[in-house]
Amino acid sequence: MSWEWSVIWEYFPKLLDGAWLTLELVAISGILGLVIAVPMALMRASDNMAIKALPYAYIFFFRGTPLLVQIFLIYYGASQFDAVKASALWPILREPYWCAIIAFSLNTAAYGAEMIRGAIQAVPKGEIEAAMALGMSKFQTIKRIILRRAAGIVLPGYSNEVLLMLKSSALASTITLLDLTGMARTIIARTYTPLEMFFAAGMVYLAMAAVLILCFRLLERRLNKYQFAKRPI
């Protein structure tokens, strides 16, 4: 077996193009996912069955089916219906880029919602009672106390979800997107150097993960300042 470093250098710029698309997918879906997850989590934490039902079903479906299946259903499945192709949504659903973003956002929102729900319920009762005693409205309490505290609690777990999504985004290559994995596979089909290319792609993933981990670390220092304070004794 021979190892060709030169192939890695030659195709590295292309891999970086792919890495850029991967970052784009993860960033956009990450933000959209969070936007969906927060209200879902609040509804899910409700005691009212009617409010709880929808997020419950949504979370159940997206956590219970493989991401690959979700991507295929959205990309290949939706396009089977003429009604979809005639609708105003088709310009969006036509593009693999948006199909990937829809699938990733909905998927990560389901996991995120469940984590945030847990964090919301973990906010100490006393703090909520204190807020109410101070005369805050329900909305003010949610905004100032519950979500603020839940954010600090959920953060370490949420960083896991974002890292998992970074790696799951490789599935975008199955719907023709040339993300980092898609690009590596396309190069391999030509150069027959799977070990070198997957090694290089793996290193780029690792670098991206390192940056994300650092970001979360900094965010955690900010949101959970009290944990980093010097202990008195």
Binding site: Y76, S79, R94, T176, T186, I188, A189
Partner: protein, 249 residues
Amino acid sequence: MKKLIATAVMLAACATAPFAMAGDKVRIATEGAYAPFNMMDNQGNLIGFDVEIAEALCAEMKADCEIVAQDWDGIIPGLRARKYDAIIASMSITDERLRVVDFSEKYYANVLAFVAPKGTAFETTKAALKGKTIGAQRATISGQYLEDNFGDIVNVKLYDTQDNAYLDLASGRLDGIMSDKFPAYDWLRTADGEGFEFKGEDFDINDEIAIAVRKGDKLAGKFSEAIKAIRANGKYAEINAKYFPFDIY
């Protein structure tokens, strides 16, 4: 003693294992998943162009043949391990394969072609294709040809399987696909492929499909002669006509 018996049993088993027999018995492997060249019918029997050609060649060589199914990934290792003596499975002659096996003369030639919806203007010149979205299967000769020759002007989309490319052609995401011509011809005759047709001229890339045998095996020459013979006596044309209305040699 027990060990000795076990060893003896194993040796005996090996001796009677399905190794290629000496004499005229020829074992031939095919894949069984590449319609219409080699596939299984409802009863699990191997059928298709490759299978019928194999039978005709055996008849011509007056050899006693047996055709077995073997997954594509392991088809060359199986040949080298003497599980069978020849591969007749629409295999292209490539430099990589020539390093490990010998090939007969070709028994048909693969060409590439564009497929697009019926009734659309689809000229296969570079100028006319500019800006179109064209699909192909990843890691195939058609995918590479598309990238090499049209990659700078068309938007190339690569799919994991040919079926996914067909799905996207049907959904309208693709303006056309580039594919091996003969399997695509078969798809065009199915209900799913009804609304599509070949566009423009075929691309002849000198892709020869031949029979693989072990390095140095004289079978290669025998097969080559048999191919010539069935070409000459009309047997080949008869089988060809069952699958395609044009000569694929």
